[in-house]
């Protein structure tokens, strides 16, 4: 089995590398879910405020990064202001980095067009607390300036001043946003999550507790197409296609081998009896 495992690992590395190098560029169709999220952000009036929470680890940046980048770009292009924060410590630096890079490219100004609040531990308390007072939870921004010292910081007092919350997550954090910010304060929530998490949030979409969901590299690729700006999401889809294809082949191969072994065992049992 150890030998087989090594072959499997090598085949996976080869498949992904080949796809990344040669980039077959297969077309990506846009799902209604991504189109809906795009529509929700597109319908926000310029000057309204979106809260983007970087609820992920550094490890999932390759998957979450392109998604976050596309959503941030969409908000900035629409003239929608962004309040960034992180409920996972590792999302803190990643979120600040992403926002500041996109802001500098699109000429958006810190303090008036976007602010970054930084990280607070104990996400339940933080989400609930912001429903009462954002300044009560984040008295100062990531740079240490008092929240009231920036124009945008003055405008956002609690969830009533936030048009939409986007949780960029690689885990169950959107559930907490739904359970505490939506259920208690009726805030609109969008989950931008890793592909593996997507089925967890579909029940919330159907019960209308979640405004929308966009998931994984595929979601990023779809969003980039809607923005008319292909990027890392589109590039990643080729590698994902190769990996999924290989896993499908391995499932078939594993079953074929098991079937062969079973048949051999039966033949031997028949011969011995």
């Amino acid at each position: 089995m150890i030998k087989t495992r090594r072959w499997i690992f090598a085949a996976m590395a080869l498949a992904v590398t080949t796809a990344l190098v040669f980039r077959p560029g297969l077309p990506v169709s846009i799902t209604p879910e991504t189109r809906h999220v795009f529509g929700v952000i597109d319908s926000l009036a310029p000057g309204s405020v979106v809260m983007i929470s970087f609820d992920h680890e550094a490890s999932s940046l390759p998957e979450i990064g392109p998604l976050g980048s596309a959503i941030v770009e969409h908000c900035f292009r629409r003239g929608v202001d962004i309040v960034g924060l992180a409920l996972f410590s590792e999302g803190t630096a990643a979120g600040y980095d992403l926002l500041s890079r996109r802001a500098s490219v699109l000429g958006r100004v810190y303090g008036s067009d976007w602010i970054y609040l930084g990280f607070r531990p104990q996400y339940t308390a933080a989400i609930l607390g912001m429903g009462e007072s954002i300044a009560g939870v984040f008295s100062a921004d990531y740079k240490g300036q008092p929240l009231g010292s920036t124009a945008l910081g003055k405008r956002v007092r609690d969830y009533r001043d936030i048009a939409l919350v986007v949780s960029l997550a690689d885990g169950s954090m959107p559930t907490y946003w739904v359970e505490y910010a939506q259920a208690r304060y009726h805030e609109r929530i969008i989950a931008a999550v890793t592909a593996v998490m997507v089925t967890s949030y579909v029940p919330y979409i159907e019960s209308r507790q979640l405004e929308g969901i966009v998931a994984g590299l595929k979601g990023a690729a779809e969003y980039e197409q809607l923005l008319g700006h292909p990027g890392a999401g589109m590039r990643g889809m080729d590698a994902q296609s190769a990996a999924h294809g290989l896993i499908a082949i391995l499932i078939v191969a594993g079953n074929w081998q098991a079937w062969r072994l079973r048949r051999k065992r039966r033949t031997m049992e028949g011969a011995s009896s």
Binding site: A58, S59, S89, L128, D170, G171, S207
Partner: protein, 309 residues
């Protein structure tokens, strides 16, 4: 920070009870209180959002849900006292714990117990896992089998230390407990996964218990445990990770089986009675679902207005 740490340590030594309260009781209590809200709020937020007087009328469905749940648990405990609660069916994953510990002892290998990266001490799944840890630790102490518990959360680590120490006393072997084997590792998900993987590769455990709330680290841990040749017993309430555990582990407790298992190992009658109460509540939910689906299908009467505004 060092000064703060020293102060925290001194306070913990002087006031052990205060330290314990601050370490686990208050967060657990608050989360338990909050835990009632989301579990019910997931399914109940009235469209009739009126706030009248001192009571939030819009939240009446949640209140009724809590009252019904409390009533069911109370009734089940009463029935249990009269000996009228049926026995729970055995769970293969639970039955395998003894064999796994025996195997590890024969090999002279330790066992590793992981509660997952996704849960804190306020999460009922972590509480259920702690009850199972108590049983595993007691048996491990009896067999003199080393138990390693790496944790992602300092509060969980402190509760686990107390749990394992108590289990060692209950087994009549207080000297078996080693505080360094039950420790906080890292809050970072993949940092934690890498640390536990490293531990498993270095220590070659005979059995690995993955019981609690898991996220992306689930398959990484389960596959590494399999590679080291350990028996893997898993159980989680994370529906996504369940599929990974079912494929990669030897035994898996599915969702609420973890709660049932905790009741069974604790031999606590109230815990078993609450499993029965959950079954009754499930029947109530099924009736609601059937009535709702029937009304929608036949009369186009949509009852979901009370879930979302």
């Amino acid at each position: 920070m060092i000064r703060d740490g020293r102060r925290a340590r001194q306070t913990a030594r002087r006031y052990p009870m205060l330290s314990r309260l601050s370490a686990s009781v208050i967060p657990v209590a608050v989360m338990a209180g909050c835990g009632l809200m989301p579990a019910l709020a997931q399914s109940a937020e009235s469209a009739l959002a009126k706030e009248t007087g001192w009571f939030q009328a819009a939240r009446l469905p949640e209140l009724l849900g809590i009252a019904l749940s409390a009533l069911a648990i109370w009734a089940a405990i009463r029935l249990d006292r009269r000996g009228r609660i049926p026995k729970l069916r055995s769970l293969p994953g639970l039955d395998a714990i003894s064999d796994a510990l025996g195997r590890a002892t024969e090999q002279g290998a330790p066992v590793v117990y992981v509660t997952g990266w996704g849960g804190d001490m306020g999460r009922p799944t972590t509480m259920a896992s702690m009850t199972i840890l108590s049983d595993v630790a007691r048996r491990a102490a009896e067999y003199n089998c080393r138990l390693l518990f790496p944790s992602h959360d300092p509060v969980v680590a402190s509760v686990a230390q107390e749990t394992v120490a108590q289990a060692a006393v209950a087994a009549g072997r207080p000297d078996w407990y080693r505080a360094d084997d039950v420790t906080f590792v890292s809050q970072s998900q993949l940092g934690y996964a890498a640390a536990v993987d490293g531990l498993m590769v270095r220590e070659h455990p005979g059995a690995v218990f993955l019981l609690g709330t898991f996220e992306g680290e689930a398959l990484i841990l389960a596959e590494t445990a399999h590679q080291t040749g350990a028996v893997t017993i898993a159980g989680t309430d994370s529906t996504i990770q369940l599929s990974f555990f079912l494929v990669a582990c030897d035994y898996t407790l599915i969702g609420e089986e973890l709660f049932a298992a905790s009741g069974m190992v604790s031999r606590d009658h109230t815990a078993i009675a609450s499993v029965q109460a959950q079954d009754w509540l499930k029947y109530v939910v099924i009736v609601f679902l059937l009535v709702g689906a029937g009304l929608l299908a036949t009369m186009h009467f949509d009852l979901s207005w009370w879930i979302a505004r």
